[in-house]
Amino acid sequence: MTEVPLWSLAVLPAVLGAATIVAIAFDVALSARAGGRAASLTEVVVVPLREAVRLLVGQRRVTTAADRVLWRTGVVTVPVIALLAALVLPLGGVAVADLGVGVVWFNAMEILAWAAVWMAGWGPNSVLSLVGGYRFVAQGLAYELPHMFALISAATAAGTLRVGGIVEAQSGVWFVVWMPVAFVVYLLSAVAMAFRGPFDAPTGRDLAGGAVEELSGVDRLVFQGGRWLLLVVAVAMSVPLFLGGGHGPLLPPWLWTVLKTAAVLAAVLWLRRKFPTVRMDRFAEIAWVVLIPLTILQALAVGVLVLTW
């Protein structure tokens, strides 16, 4: 197990924070374009900062007979688990900690989002928020299993649960080549996990914001920021799992990681705009009847390939 210096613990949040700001700025630019407005680079980069400042100076609020402990716990949990999941995320060849059970750790952290969003939805004692929280649990039931089979496909192919090991196993052929289904399903579920569009029903406009409906001030900043962070981390994880991590010609590994992450993130944010919000009462059936069997077949194919090689 490679050991890294303590300072990397400070670098990780900074790098992820910067990546999150860039991702939000890109999304703002896409929005501006859809509205027929050319937005300058400074304008879009300023938006996430402005938004953060707006929420920092904004007043917090408490609703009538709210369950404050659950509510605030849920809110704070979102960014914390996003950061903790990033523990095993390698930048180039280096992760903060390349745990022997890295994939399981990542999975365990991100699944805490279920609890976080449900608590944030339940806490304020508000119907629309409550419905939003429950929507996320239903969403979890649909995306989580395909997600885990996708993770397991990558782990099986490498014969290890260590993320660094999975990257090493891709020094020749990237996993995306022989497990395209797992890759696509992984990205789909990464977006669903961060409940971003088109899987944003838990915070949908039809619920006046759902789980975030009653949040204001710094609470809203922490929750919404954490949600973006979760998306960035989950999408970035697809690079070591399926896209060969830092492997690539000429450029240094860290740069390859950054480039690949940026490309996948941009693709995800761009594709989101092609679809309306997907409701789980329709999607759950697809997830169970199509995605789960597909990912199981994918895992089977990988298992057979591992044996024959």
């Binding site: 509205g35 407005r37 402005r50 944003d200 409906e213 949040l215 705009r273």
Partner: protein, 447 residues
Amino acid sequence: MELTRALLRFAAGRPHVLLLEVPGGTATRLAAEVELRRRGWPAAVSPAEADMVLLAGAGGARLTPMMGLLWRQVPKPRVFAHLDDAATVPQMFDEARRRLATGGETWEVFAGEEQDGDEFREGHHGDEHGGDSDHGDGDHEDTSAGGGDHGSGHEGGGEQSGGDDHGGGHDHGGGHGHDHGGMEMPGGLSMAGRGPDRDGLQLDQLHVPLGPLLPDWPAGLVVYTTLQGDVVQQAEVDVLRAESVHEGFWDEPWRRVGSGQEVARGEGARRRVAGYLDSLAGFLRVAGWPDPAVGAARSRDELLAGARAEQVTPRLRRLVRRLRRARTLRWLTDGLGVLSSARAESAGFETVLRASRGDGDVTARWQTWLTEIERILPQVDDTTALPAENALLRGESSEDPRSLPALAVLPELLEGAELAAARLIVASLAPDVTALGGRAATEVVGD
């Protein structure tokens, strides 16, 4: 604090605006949407998100306490504006931004009748607490534990909906729960009661009103729902009417013909296409598809601003083609809110009726909008005069046209629908309550 002031100035560059439309406010809302898009300011979805609340349309005694209640839920810094005049929207946004930058809390009527503002203030004094809470300085904290007793305000509103047992019947919710018993309950609210669901199970019920102060919701519509989980078990429709008679925005050209003016045929076509685009944009926002929603809104605003057909047509055709090919959207709205052709006929409304050939669902209704847009669009530049018989036909539309039946069928369509589906069904019917004119709400609801 100096730092706070600097941060406020920075943050005020992009305020979130909660845009609420009530009857008579269509023109103002459209102007505000144009302005928001031009500035790149986001439209808030809930009071907690908003920095600025913009109420478009006429106030009224029934609306006053509701608005007061909502205002108390908006976190500071905040600005409220009640607008009755579309022309003042840009300068009002500038003013609001300036006030937000100084952290000022403003509850103000920027334009329109001054007495409206007084009504709002009265509504506040009617409350047991927080009477002064919205006037800016001083003690603004709503310190009372029961954020919820505004009974007097409600009763004040009740007389406006006089003779309408729906409005009255629903006030039992907040006020009474506080007055009789339940004092030991936190927040002065009782726990949810139980009732049988469609399978006969005893389940908790919540009473959740939707509208009137809800973004992306038809102006003036109120649906009182009884929810079990997120399923609507029961729905009652009510309408918030303006005190003064407000004329509909979408049938204005025909009204002008009715009053003897000469109006070009193209102007009527323009208004109708814009109306369908407005319904489409609202529907797409509820469906969680912002990009085409913005596209529809842009074309709508260009048409209303007088753009010629050839300027609008290419983008509009692209939008229509994109939506026709939108398999995901179809899959999500198929089978929702099915209205049989027989029921549509007895209810008797034109656009929806056309969609209901062969039992129209939500999909059929938004697709009919697309067809209508394509059909009417070429007539937009027609300069021949609108014939008078058209005016007659549409003239009575201030009393009726499609909106009444839409309200009549709403309860039966909503019952058993999930909350998300319910929002889509309402958006797909897009009832124009403004067109009701002076009719009493009870007449509308009557089965």
